[in-house]
């Protein structure tokens, strides 16, 4: 055959490369001793160096959250000899034998070969003692890492807390190891990837007595840990702390937004908790205690509690009516203290003459007036039927973010519910009868199929303050978010509503909370509470022109909006804009600080 001799070439290729492999292996395994030394894991220990988490600042770069070092006792189970003096060991570290056995089991289950945390956060005193005696216990060593320390008790719901990684995450993630900490709530969770930094690796040589000697190869193989990136919150911490003081001993939320940017200035959820409870050695105990508390202190009510908006929805009802052309600024609607609907009727509680314009209606929060506006909006002949006009009405609400999940940088935001056409079709439709505007008239005064969060309210107020420009609210400066959009309602209508809301503070339901020298636009509201006293709601922005702040406040079981939610909001405005509280407002501040709404409620429950 012609090419027979080529078999020698092929065999030559096989032989040449096999010999190349063997030659290289001979060098690696026999000739070069360095790899043998390297591999002896009794002599070289790979330690993880933990990065410090990114720091958290407020909007004016005031440090809120930083780190402090703690010491963990680590273990590599395979290096622990079978016979060890367990009792003496337990004595050294102040633990009982049961804990010792449990931890032994847990760490062994995780891995026999990889290091993991045996005891968390040993005290500095025990650490000092351990340094002296640890050489007697092969397989154990200490490791430094950092935990959070807080410079303020304010805004714990915003930055949230840390916890140990869950087993399910350990199974799927390459980054986390047993005993690592991870953000559980707040921006600690929302921005975990930025805050956590990157772990490093350090190699140290260990002598035969389990004592760490020096870094291996002068640290040339080490990879330093990289600290996490810092976060700048949009929170104004002095204002936040002031608002929390006003909310003390009350249940509810206060959110303030800077309308021109959408930055959230304060986010108060009351009652609150001390963030230092959820860091350090007693975290577990404290967590149990907080979970037992019926007041649910860790809950961020601003984004998870939902209420019907009550009368605070009226400016929006008016805006839609104006835009749809069913009313104008000087429309008249009769108020006999009562709006007749079927056999039920909607009362007007405020005792005032009938309003001949919208300013009066907002000022007096006249229920029949807004029932009329809503009726005209739904019965608008330009639409085919009620379904079409209600759908349009709901579309406006959605434009204002109501019933939507707002991505402000915090996890766990509740979407809430707002009425839908489908819902009424399902509930009220039979073959011979269809729902009408009168069926759903309570929507006009913010009651009925509504459940929205305080954040929704504040966002809506911020849009009104901006005269229809929707700046997406957010809690971390420069975080990615959509570009601002413009609501499909004419700017002139917003001016009309602002005039009406200004009247509220001059001579209407909010006049007792007005502040001299500041042009505040506000609207009170009361959310019906079937389980107890009604909730007090207030929304406002100030100043009227070029607003600097928009606020929504909800105080649970506090009755009318004018009694608690309004003075809290206007005091915050005064503090934020004037940096001081004038003497005329002092008595209101004093009264709020003294009021305790939690104690009587607790008593009642008992």
């Amino acid at each position: 055959m012609q090419f027979d001799s080529r078999k020698y070439v092929v065999l030559g290729v096989f032989l040449f490369f096999s010999l190349t492999l063997l030659f290289r292996l001979f060098v690696l395994q026999v000739q070069d001793p360095s790899y043998k030394d390297l591999a002896d894991s009794n002599y070289i220990r790979k330690k993880t160096t933990y990065p410090a988490r990114g720091l958290i600042y407020d909007r004016n770069s005031i440090l809120l959250v930083d780190n402090q070092p703690i010491y963990d006792l680590m273990i590599i189970p395979k290096d622990v000899p079978k016979e060890m003096d367990t009792l003496k060991f337990c004595e050294l570290f102040n633990i009982d034998v049961v804990t010792f056995e449990e931890n032994m089991k847990k760490t062994r289950k995780y891995s026999r070969y990889k290091p993991s945390v045996f005891l968390k956060q040993i005290s500095p005193r025990v650490y000092a003692k351990a340094q002296e005696y640890l050489y007697q216990y092969p397989g154990y060593f200490t490791q430094v890492r950092t935990i959070r320390s807080y410079h303020t008790r304010g805004a714990p719901h915003v930055y949230g807390y840390l916890g140990e990684v869950s087993q399910s995450l350990l199974d799927t993630s390459k980054y986390y190891a047993l005993g690592d900490y991870i953000g559980i709530s707040g921006v600690e969770r929302g921005f975990e990837d930025q805050l956590r930094g990157i772990k490093g690796e350090k190699y140290v040589t260990v002598d035969a007595f389990n004592r760490e000697k020096e870094s291996y190869k002068a640290g040339s193989k080490d990879v330093p840990a990289e600290q996490g990136q810092s976060l700048n919150l949009t929170i104004d911490i002095p204002l936040q702390e002031y608002a929390e003081k006003l909310m003390q001993n009350k249940i509810g939320s206060v959110i303030a937004i800077e309308p021109s940017t959408g930055e959230i200035l304060t986010m108060v959820s009351s009652p609150s908790y001390n963030p230092s409870l959820l860091t350090g050695r007693d975290r577990g105990e404290n967590m149990k205690m907080l979970n037992r508390d019926s007041l649910k202190r860790q809950l961020n009510r601003c984004i998870t509690a939902t209420y019907p908006p009550g009368s605070t929805l009226k400016p929006l009802v008016a805006l839609i009516g104006l835009q749809e052309g069913v009313i104008h600024a000087n429309s008249y609607a009769r108020c006999g203290g009562y709006y007749p609907v079927g056999n039920r009727g909607v009362k007007c509680s405020h005792g005032h003459p009938s309003c001949s314009n919208i300013y009066c209606a907002i000022e007096q929060s006249c229920n029949p007036y807004f029932c009329e506006v809503f009726k005209r909006t739904i019965d608008n002949p330009s639409y085919e039927n009620e379904e079409k006009s209600l759908a349009k009405w709901v579309k406006y609400l959605r434009e204002f973010g109501l019933g939507e999940t707002l991505d402000i940088g915090l996890p766990g935001m509740v979407k809430g519910t707002i009425p839908t056409v489908e819902y009424y079709n399902r509930i009220y439709n039979t073959d011979y009868w269809h729902w009408k505007s009168s069926t759903i008239i309570s929507l006009s005064i913010g009651q009925g199929e509504f459940a929205i969060t305080p954040l929704h309210l504040a966002n809506y107020m911020s849009i009104v303050a901006n005269r229809g420009v929707y700046q997406y609210p957010h809690i971390v400066r420069n975080m990615s978010r959509p570009k601002p959009k413009t609501i499909s309602i004419d700017r002139s209508h917003f001016e009309t509503i602002a005039d009406g809301m200004e009247q509220v503070m001059v001579s209407g339901t909010g006049k007792w909370s007005s502040v001299e020298g500041i042009d505040i636009c506000g609207k009170t509201g009361t959310a019906e509470n079937p389980h107890g006293d009604d909730h007090s709601i207030f929304i406002c922005f100030a100043p009227k022109d070029n607003p600097k702040i928009a606020i929504a406040a909800v105080v649970e079981n506090a009755g009318y909006g004018s009694t608690f939610a309004a003075p809290i909001s206007t005091l915050m405005i005064e503090q934020y804009l004037n940096d001081t509280i004038c003497n005329k407002s002092k008595w209101r501040e004093q009264k709020l600080l003294e009021t305790n709404l939690i104690e009587p409620k607790k008593k009642k429950e008992e």
Partner: protein, 481 residues
């Protein structure tokens, strides 16, 4: 088309069978040690929860299949070759649509608890098809048309596997060049194959990469063009001794390439080289002056150098490129690819002459070495059995390869010979690259060590290759094609 007696006494090549079972034994032992945990008790009831249990299940299934394989004769395998090939290609297409993605490659079918990788089986189909086509009496691989068809038979599955982002398995198909070489392909192809790899490495060495983004910060074209130009000038001067016109013309052309590279953008440079390559080849074709061939080849090589870095960035995943660059010491990645390679070398190196003993490989099991039951399984053998173990394993593989070549050369059937060479080439490529990558001689491209690595599809594929060959060999007395 057969003549002679339809059947005669079957003669099984027991030496190959023995080598096969020795390798299987090594493999099962290695898979067991790589997942060994003295804390865990393996019982009959939880057997299949462990890697070793799953692997044993595949081994048993493969044993049954290799018995089935013995039931058919050579004629059957010849006839079924095209069908098997088409099925392989269809499976490779199907996996792109219905497959699941595991660690970056979409190359798996998931059937309940079972995972199956069609690219492992496609090697068998392709080997049979190449043998089928080339064994036809009218086909000669030296003819351009026949060569192109053979190349297409190999390139189709290769391309499909590349689409699965499994560059490693795709590269295995380049080993068929040894088969074609044995069947008469010009040695220039082997030289070209080696040159392509050499230029690839050289270009990457001379290119500067951003260590983080892997963006090209400086092209390696100019230093290579100058160096290559000077080298080629010297070669031309020696080759065309005293043919002054040729020498001067070539040197002028090499210089002009370097000059052009100085003044135009990359895109136009590529255009210039492409046009030059085609133009000079046309001139060579017309005038048969080898100087033109020199110029054409130089242009082609320059164009390749110019594009190779971009090709890497387009066709390789970031981590694959990173592995190659780390291996060539171009960038350092102590956290990722570089770390793994270092750990793998430490594990093997720590074995010494005789190793630490079976199940005593502490370093591998400390979790420093990645994928220690699949791509890096050689680390176990290196650590626990030392250089003697490595020597024996490489010896076993070499004996197997040698034996397959012996079998191939004693065939009167061209089909069997070609198939045997295909089997040898595939085994050789896997064995060479897998071990080489664990000791830093080849980039980590993630292909299994035949019959040793954990993984059912590949085990099945390699078993089929060996036992189809054994069956074909057993009737070598009845010659046909």
């Amino acid at each position: 088309m057969s003549f002679g007696r339809p059947t005669s006494k079957k003669r099984t090549d027991w030496l190959t069978v023995l080598l096969y079972f020795l390798l299987v034994a090594v493999g099962v032992a290695a898979v067991y040690t790589s997942n060994y945990n003295p804390e865990q008790q393996i019982t009959w009831s939880n057997f299949l929860d462990f890697q070793i249990g799953k692997q044993m299940a595949w081994v048993v299934m493969s044993f049954i299949l290799i018995l089935v394989v013995q039931l058919f004769d050579r004629k059957f395998y010849i006839n079924i070759s095209p069908i098997l090939y088409i099925i392989s290609v269809l499976l490779l297409i199907a996996v792109l649509i219905f497959g699941v993605e595991i660690s970056g490659s979409q190359s798996w079918f998931q059937l309940g608890p079972l995972r199956f990788q069609p690219s492992e089986i496609a090697k068998v189909g392709t080997a049979l098809m190449v043998a089928y086509y080339l064994s036809d009496f009218n086909v000669n691989v030296q003819k351009t048309k026949d060569f192109l068809i053979t190349a297409a038979i190999i390139a189709i599955p290769m391309g499909l596997i590349l689409l699965q982002s499994d560059a490693g398995t795709a590269l295995v198909y380049t080993s068929f060049i040894l088969v074609l070489f044995r069947e008469g392909l010009s040695p220039w192809f082997l030289i070209t194959y080696a040159s392509v790899i050499a230029l690839f490495v050289l270009t990457l060495v001379f290119t500067q990469f951003d260590p983080v983004t892997l963006d090209i910060t400086r092209s390696g074209f100019k230093p290579l063009a100058i160096g290559g130009g000077i080298l080629m000038s010297v070669i031309s001067a020696l080759y065309f001794w005293k043919q002054w016109a040729n020498i001067a013309g070539l040197i002028a052309f090499f210089a002009s390439v370097v000059l052009v590279a100085n003044f135009v953008e990359d895109f136009y440079l590529l255009g210039f080289l492409g046009v030059a390559c085609v133009f000079f080849f046309f001139l060579y074709f017309r005038m048969r002056n080898q100087a033109f061939l020199f110029a054409s080849v130089f242009s082609l090589a320059a164009a390749y150098v110019q594009t190779v870095a971009s090709i890497c960035q387009t066709f390789l995943e970031g981590y694959q490129l990173k592995r190659i660059l780390v291996l060539l010491n171009i960038i350092k990645d102590p956290r990722g690819a570089g770390y793994n390679l270092e750990q793998s070398k430490i594990a093997i190196g720590s074995g010494g002459w005789t190793g630490k003993g079976y199940l005593n490989g502490t370093y591998v099991r400390s979790g420093f070495v990645p994928e220690v039951d699949t791509d890096f399984i050689f680390c176990n053998i290196g650590e626990e059995f030392g250089f003697m173990g490595s020597l024996i394993l490489i010896g076993l593989f070499f004996c197997l390869l040698f034996r397959i070549v012996v079998i191939a050369e004693r065939q009167k059937s061209k089909f069997t010979r070609i198939f045997a060479y295909a089997v040898a080439s595939i085994f050789f490529f896997h064995f060479l690259i897998n071990i080489a990558m664990t000791i830093g001689l080849a980039p980590v491209i993630g292909i299994p060590l035949p019959l040793i690595s954990y993984g059912g599809s590949s085990f099945l594929g390699f078993s089929l290759l060996i036992f189809i060959l054994i069956r074909l060999d057993s009737e070598k007395k009845n010659v046909v094609r």
